[in-house]
């Protein structure tokens, strides 16, 4: 049953299983294990980024396609939901059709980009996606009458998903069950389902064909696979998943703007998460996204503690000053790529053999 749910793609490493279970349980009970707004915020972000990073790995790790337009698809999903909610009011209907419209537009964009540019060399496709994504970001910030420009959009979501709504009077484990918790579980379960769907896709005959195309497109053609169509379908699927992750973010934040969805910084974060976790394995997306976001959120706090503790030692305390957290994140990244070139999951699975 469990193996079927995971599409036969079990972690195949004891330590990896343990780590994944820790992430799953922590996220499933996040509101109770780590009460507080900031930690719930982080947990939701991790859920959303697991979907986003997994959808990017579908493209990069499985199909071997380098794209810089992934945040564009993420943004299209977020703006779809945001525009529907802000123009027609906070109803579930708007939420659903906005999300569906976002995913649909993302699919069309991906189809067009794929058919126009996947026939040519990989580097050319990467350049096209970079150009299209940059143009899209400029367009969004310029069309402020529609998108709110750089300020983005603030909107209401259905009341049951906001902190104002109380599901039950009593507190559970000292946590009041309000709409924010419901919104969190919407994000969590949607992320679990989307992840399992992607896990199925990469283990399907289609997913296996993607790996063949990645390994040797020339030979894949010679045994009868139409490579362009496989690459294009992978691009479309990955775009739809990214758009759905964007919709989750739009629902969670009740705000959508260029900085939270479209920025090149997020694109680079996604790349780093895929590489740290391990390309070509969706479990890598789980660990990569979790570790990266935890580091992003808590590293400067940890370093603050460290700086305090070492305040007597002159050089060390300057080095670990909280404002240098980005430097240390960079160092951690370089070390992890150096020591785990196949990512955390690749390393753990190889250790077993």
């Amino acid at each position: 049953m469990l193996t079927r749910l995971l599409s036969g793609d079990t972690p195949r490493s004891g330590l990896l299983t343990a780590l994944l279970l820790i992430v799953l349980i922590s996220l499933a009970f996040a509101p109770f294990l780590f009460p507080g707004t900031k930690s719930l915020e982080t947990a939701a972000r991790i859920c959303i980024f697991i979907v986003l990073v997994a959808s990017y790995d579908l493209l990069l790790g499985y199909a071997g396609i380098v794209s810089f337009a992934h945040t564009m698809f993420f943004g299209i999903g977020a703006y779809g939901t945001a525009l529907a909610l802000s123009t027609t009011g906070p109803s579930y209907g708007a939420l659903v059709w906005g999300t569906a419209a976002g995913a649909g537009v993302a699919a069309l964009f991906a189809l067009a980009i794929g058919l126009f540019s996947l026939r040519v060399k990989a580097i050319f496709f990467a350049m096209v996606t970079l150009a299209v994504a940059s143009a899209f970001a400029v367009l969004v910030s310029q069309m402020s009458w529609l998108t709110g420009g750089e300020d983005g959009l603030n909107y209401k979501i259905p009341r049951e998903l906001t902190p104002a709504f109380k599901l039950i009077k009593a507190k559970v484990f000292d946590v009041s069950i309000n709409g924010k918790i419901l919104a969190y579980y919407l994000v969590f379960f949607a992320a679990v389902i989307l992840f399992l769907v992607m896990l199925r896709i990469v283990n399907s005959p289609f997913g296996r064909t993607l790996k063949a195309v990645r390994d040797n497109a020339f030979r894949a053609e010679a045994i009868g696979y139409r490579v362009v169509w496989y690459r294009t379908t992978a691009t479309v699927l990955s775009a739809v998943m990214a758009a759905l992750a964007g919709s989750l973010l739009a629902i969670w934040l009740r705000y959508t703007g260029p900085a939270t969805t479209l920025s090149m910084e997020i694109m680079i974060d996604i790349l780093l998460m895929v590489v740290i976790g391990g390309m070509g394995t969706l479990y890598g997306a789980v660990l990569g996204a979790t570790l990266f976001i935890l580091a992003q959120t808590y590293l400067h706090y940890l370093m603050g503690v460290a700086a305090e503790a070492t305040s007597a030692v002159p050089v060390v305390s300057t080095l670990v000053a909280p404002e240098r957290w980005l430097l240390w994140l960079g160092v951690l990244f370089i070390l992890s790529v150096y020591f785990f070139p196949t990512g955390i999951v690749g390393r753990l699975r190889a250790g077993r053999a």
């Binding site: 036969g8 283990n203 399907s204 005959p205 296996r208 064909t209 390994d215």
Partner: protein, 260 residues
């Protein structure tokens, strides 16, 4: 109506690279259930001729006909679907995947299940069985779970042949299938090729340098020289021709360094 057509035919097939004519008006028909050896010095255009038939290169002029129907403008996968299969001279596999997965992918392509998104690949047991069956035929069963890139060269050559056998096309093109194989493995592969021809009634085109291999397998030899077809006939008579003695069997220095 298909009876009057040879299964495969090339008419005035030509390709130019700039000023160099690599394949020069080659007209030749291949009958079902025959094995034709294509012979010629390095740079004679043998592999280029294969590339034109299987579609990796597009002809400058002339046509390729399969069962009397022109396929000259079709893409590689379209030609594969219609029954042209190819094994490559330089090993050309899926290096990060397992040996079994390489063959399974061919079986999957043949079963047209590549766009199945929501079933687990392993649940298609018949594809796995087909893969294991072919691997047993080429004596690679023990290496089935190994990653291809870690395989010795001779085994990679065998897998190259296995992929073509798994594809099971009407026309099979082998480009020096036994090159790089150890002496005791060569007969296994030759036996398989023989079986494909006689039991399965397939048409086989074979580029080969070893004269003993050609003598045991071929019903017919064609000689390419500087891209042109210069001789065509039964092995014994073709080998006896002076031009063959001169151009191919080393009586005169063979031209080399041209397009392979």
């Amino acid at each position: 109506m298909a009876k009057e057509h040879p299964i495969l035919e090339t008419r005035d097939l030509t390709i130019r690279f700039g000023g160099h004519v690599a394949v020069d008006h080659v007209s030749c028909a291949f009958e079902r259930g025959t094995l034709t050896a294509i012979v010629g010095p390095n740079g004679a255009g043998k592999t280029t001729y294969f590339n034109l038939i299987s579609g990796q290169l597009s002809a400058t002029a002339g046509s390729v006909l399969l069962n009397g129907e022109a396929i000259t403008r079709l893409s590689v996968p379209e030609r594969t679907d219609r029954g042209i299969g190819r094994a490559f001279q330089l090993t050309n596999l899926f290096p990060t995947l397992s040996v079994r997965e390489n063959v399974r992918l061919v079986a999957q392509a043949k079963a047209r299940k590549g766009f199945d998104l929501f079933s687990v690949a392993e649940s298609h047991v018949e594809l796995l069985e087909r893969a294991d069956h072919v691997l047993a035929e080429v004596r690679l069963s023990d290496q089935a779970d190994q990653t291809v890139s870690a395989l010795p060269h001779g085994d990679q050559r065998k897998l190259e042949v296995a992929l073509l056998i798994a594809l099971g096309p009407q026309v099979l093109m082998f480009d020096e299938p036994t090159a790089g194989m150890s002496v005791d493995e060569v007969p296994v592969i030759l036996e398989l090729i023989k079986k494909l021809k006689s039991d399965m009634d397939r048409t086989i085109l074979l580029v080969e340098h070893k004269m003993d291999v050609i003598r045991t397998l071929a019903d017919r030899i064609i000689i390419l020289h500087n891209g042109a077809l210069v001789a065509d006939g039964e092995p014994s008579e073709v080998i006896a021709l002076p031009i063959v003695q001169e151009a191919y069997l080393g009586k005169a220095p063979a031209s080399s360094g041209e397009v392979a």
